[in-house]
Symmetry: C2
Subunit: 190 residues, 2 copies
DNA sequence: CTTTAAAACGGACCGTCAGTCCGGATAGTA
DNA sequence: TACTATCCGGACTGACGGTCCGTTTTAAAG
């Protein structure tokens, strides 16, 4: 069963409104009342569509991450399947750095909204699975699960903000690339 | 001017009460009203002593971290000054793993209470400065600031909880040790 | 073009919680 | 004992996430 027309319209309006508000307010200071008002709908609609504050921000992040997700699952190498794992890893951390840089405020807001259960976020899980698999190939001896989480820790909202403030996107890209190389074992990659 | 006797007594009572409540409730579900009630004082006292929720949890963490802080600043090697940086690094991440394992709930609660400005926490800063200096010595070429944050990311509350649930403290210690070795450059350390 | 029922809507309402405020109590000093 | 700076308690406020239910809209069937 497909979503009713007004429902779909309101969903979009809410996502756009939340997005817009994120640019004008501190990450933790966007209330759902504000989002509803900005979208021109009632508050109940927010919860009917997204279930909770967490749900709203998860969906917002999922939207922004959709392109990367597709590219990494079925796009051309080196990001997509086909390239050796070391190259895929580097391509991925690099793309993720760009994504994070372009969405710092969303990431910060998402982080807080999902703080109660960060690892169950679908987007995070997807990234983690990807890294887990690649690291597992590159370093069968290491704790790939932990290392994947550690790499993703490099995209923490506040950390990204600081890196970009002092050093720009270039610094962030170099830093996560270097970390990935170290974590995965530079020998296997080079 | 020193703190009045009743003030000091209440400060201790509040810290003990918060500590105790942390063991019985989910990390985000300890309200300051509860803490005040459990300590047998009024709510106003909580704010007079600690300024805010954030302040309370910062002080609680500082208390638990005091011993490690002293050992790392002026204790015997390899944790304290005197040992080569690689050994100090390993000793530190190992001790921090133990500290984290013993205080999982506090760490999770602290994380949330301080989420608005995590890097300004005195304890976090102290740890970061220490790692920053050691990594800077071991890898003058790397982004020591970023790498120090990345290492500390390995002690995220939820991550620690998962590691210990599946693998115990031993797994956590091995994992952070391995990560530190990689980050610092295994050649310099071994 | 009706009819109709499921689906969606809005916004008042609720419970919780961090943080404030001030009249009253108390500790330490002279 | 008298005095004052300090501290105390807990009622109060404002904000926010989440719920509820009477009303409206959609869209499919007749």
């Amino acid at each position: 069963m497909t979503e009713r027309a007004d429902a779909a319209r309101n969903r979009q309006a809410l996502l756009r409104a939340a997005d817009a508000l994120l640019n004008d307010h501190a990450p933790g200071h966007v209330s759902l009342d504000q989002v509803a008002a900005a979208a021109g709908v009632g508050k109940g609609t927010v919860f009917r569509r997204f279930g909770s504050r967490t749900g709203l921000f998860r969906e917002l992040l999922a939207e922004r991450a959709a392109r990367l997700g597709a590219a990494m699952d079925s796009g051309p190498p080196p990001l997509g399947p086909g390239a050796p794992p070391g190259q895929r890893l580097l391509a991925f951390v690099d793309e993720l750095a760009l994504l994070a840089a372009e969405n710092i405020r969303l990431i910060a807001a998402h982080e807080r909204a999902c703080a109660a259960d960060p690892y169950s976020d679908p987007t995070y899980q997807r990234w983690h699975r990807h890294l887990h698999a690649l690291i597992g190939e590159l370093r069968p001896d290491g704790d790939a699960d932990f290392l994947a989480h550690a790499l993703l820790g490099g995209y923490d909202g506040e950390l990204v903000r600081r890196m970009i403030t002092a050093g720009g996107v270039a610094r962030l890209r170099l830093a996560v690339r270097d970390l990935a190389l170290r974590v995965a074992g530079v020998d296997h990659v080079a």
